[in-house]
Amino acid sequence: MSAPSSLPAAPSRSGLLDGAITIVVLVGLWQALHAYAGDAAIASPLAALRHLSGLAATAGFWSHARATLTAFAAALVISAALGIGLGLVLGLRRFAGEVAEPILAGLYSIPKVTLYPVILLIFGLGLGAKVAFGVIHGVIPITLFTLTAVKGINPVLVRTARAMRLSQAETIRTVLAPAVLPEIVTGLRVGFSLTLLGVLVGEMFASQKGLGFLIVNGISLHNVQQTTAVILMLVIVAVAANGALLWLDRRLFHRT
C-alpha cells in the first residue's frame, strides 16, 4: 500500500491515534448493532468483556483454548515447513514452478470447506483432522509467496552460487533463504491468518473441543454472551498477532 507522501511528520504517533480512533468507531458500531438487534442476538461490548473475564477464570475455558492452540500450533508449523520448502524448490526450478503456480492458485480459491468430510474420513474426529484442515488452508499462500519471492530474486545471486559450485541444498540455505526472508514473513502472516481460520472452521463444524466449538455451542444454547465473548477474544488475539508480524515485516523490509 502506498503511504500518502504529504503527511510525513510523526508517522508513528498519528498511526497510534488512527488506530485508537478506529477502535473507538468500531466499538461504537458494535454498541449500535447491539441496540438495534437486542440482547438475544448480540451482547453489548461491556457485557462481552465482563463475560470474557468471567470465562477466563474457569478451567473449562482454558482446556478449550488449549485444544485450539495445540491444533493451531501444529498446523502452523507443518504449513510453514511444507510451504517454505515447496516454495523454495518450485521457485528454483523454473519449469516446475510455472507448471505448478496456476494449479496452486486454483486450489487457493476453491472453497476448501467442502473437502472437510474427506479429511474427517481419513483422519477421524479429533486433533488430526483439525490440524490437517488448518494445513490445507495455510500451506498454499505460504508456498505461493515463497515461490514468487524466489522467482523475483536477483539472478546475480543465483549465478554466484552456481559459480561457487554450491549444491542445491547449500544454495537454498546460504543464498536463497536469507534473500527471500522478508517475503517469507509476509507469506507467514497470511498463512497464520488462514491456518487459524481453517482450525476454527474445523472446530465449528465437527468437534467437541476448542474455541470454534464454544462459539457454535453458545448459539445453540442461546448463550449469545459466550459466543460474543469468545469472538471478541479471537479477534483481539488475531489482530495482535497480525500486528506483531506486520511490524516484523516492515522492519525486515526496511533493513535492506
Partner: protein, 253 residues
C-alpha cells in the same frame, strides 16, 4: 511459444495423472470404498443427479446467494473505495483496519449473523460480503492510485467535468484492477457462502454436502464436491484469463 505449450501440457499431464492415480487406487481397493470412491463414479453419480433434478434447488439457492453477495460486495466496495480515495485523511485512519482485516477469522461471526438475521439467506449474503467488500475496496484504491498522471492532465486540459473524467478517463484506466477485485469478491463469496451453508443452513450446496456426509451417502457427497470444485475453478479461470487480457492491453497502450 513451444516452451509455453510444454508447460501447459505438463500441467495437464500432472492433473490427469493425479486423477488416474485416484482411479487406480480406488479400483484396486487400496483404500476403503467408504473413504473414497473412484472419480469415474463421482462423474456418473453427478450426471444422474443433475439429470434427475434432485440438486437443482440447492444449486439455484447457492448461486442466487453468491450472485447477490457479489453484486452487493462489488457495488459497496467500489463506492467506498472511490469515497475513501477522495478523502486521504479517512484513508489514513482506515489503513490499520484494512491491513489487519483479513487476519480476523471472519467465519467466527457467522453464528452471530444467524442470531441477528435468522436462519435464511441473509446471514450468508452478509458473510460473503464480509469477505468480498474489503478486497474490492483495496482493488479500487489500487486501480485509482495507478491512473497515469498524464491522462488526468489531459482530462483537465480538455476541461472534462468530474463525472466525465471518471467515465472516460479514470474508469477505463482502472478497469483491470477493478476486475481483480471482482475476481476476488467472487472467489471469496463462494468460499464464505459454501462454508456458511456447511456450518449452519437449511438449504444450498454446502448444506447438501454436510447432509450427505452425516447420512454416510458417500456417492452424493463426492459428486457434489466435484461439482463445486469444477464450477468454481471454471469461473475463476475464465475471469483470470479475461483479467490477463485486459492487463496486457493496458500495458500495451
Amino acid at each position: 511459444m513451444t516452451r509455453e505449450r510444454a508447460i501447459v501440457l505438463t500441467r495437464i499431464g500432472w492433473i490427469a495423472g493425479f486423477v488416474l492415480l485416484l482411479e487406480a487406487v480406488c479400483r484396486l481397493h487400496l483404500v476403503d470404498p467408504l473413504t473414497l470412491i473412484p472419480p469415474s463414479e463421482m462423474i456418473a453419480t453427478l450426471w444422474t443427479m443433475l439429470a434427475s433434478g434432485e440438486i437443482t434447488g440447492d444449486i439455484a439457492r447457492t448461486f442466487a446467494t453468491v450472485a447477490v453477495a457479489v453484486v452487493l460486495a462489488v457495488a459497496i466496495g467500489f463506492s467506498l473505495g472511490v469515497a475513501i480515495h477522495a478523502l486521504p485523511r479517512i484513508r489514513q485512519g482506515l489503513d490499520p483496519l484494512l491491513a489487519s482485516y483479513y487476519a480476523i477469522p471472519t467465519f467466527v461471526f457467522y453464528p452471530l449473523f444467524v442470531a441477528i438475521f435468522g436462519l435464511n439467506s441473509v446471514p450468508l449474503i452478509v458473510l460473503g460480503m464480509a469477505f468480498g467488500v474489503p478486497a474490492m475496496i483495496l482493488a479500487t484504491l489500487n486501480g485509482l492510485d495507478r491512473v497515469p498522471r498524464v491522462l488526468m492532465r489531459t482530462a483537465r486540459a480538455h476541461r472534462l467535468g468530474r463525472l466525465s473524467t471518471l467515465a472516460h478517463v479514470v474508469m477505463p484506466s482502472a478497469l483491470p484492477y477493478l476486475l481483480t477485485g471482482v475476481k476476488l469478491a467472487l472467489a471469496y463469496a463462494f468460499i464464505g457462502i459454501i462454508a456458511g451453508e456447511f456450518i449452519l443452513a437449511d438449504a444450498g450446496l454446502g448444506h447438501a454436502i454436510a447432509y450427505a456426509y452425516d447420512g454416510f451417502e458417500n456417492r452424493t457427497m463426492y459428486s457434489l464436491m466435484l461439482f463445486v470444485l469444477v464450477v468454481v475453478t471454471g469461473l475463476n479461470m475464465t475471469l483470470h484469463a479475461w483479467e490477463g487480457r485486459l492487463m496486457r492491453r493496458r500495458i500495451r497502450s
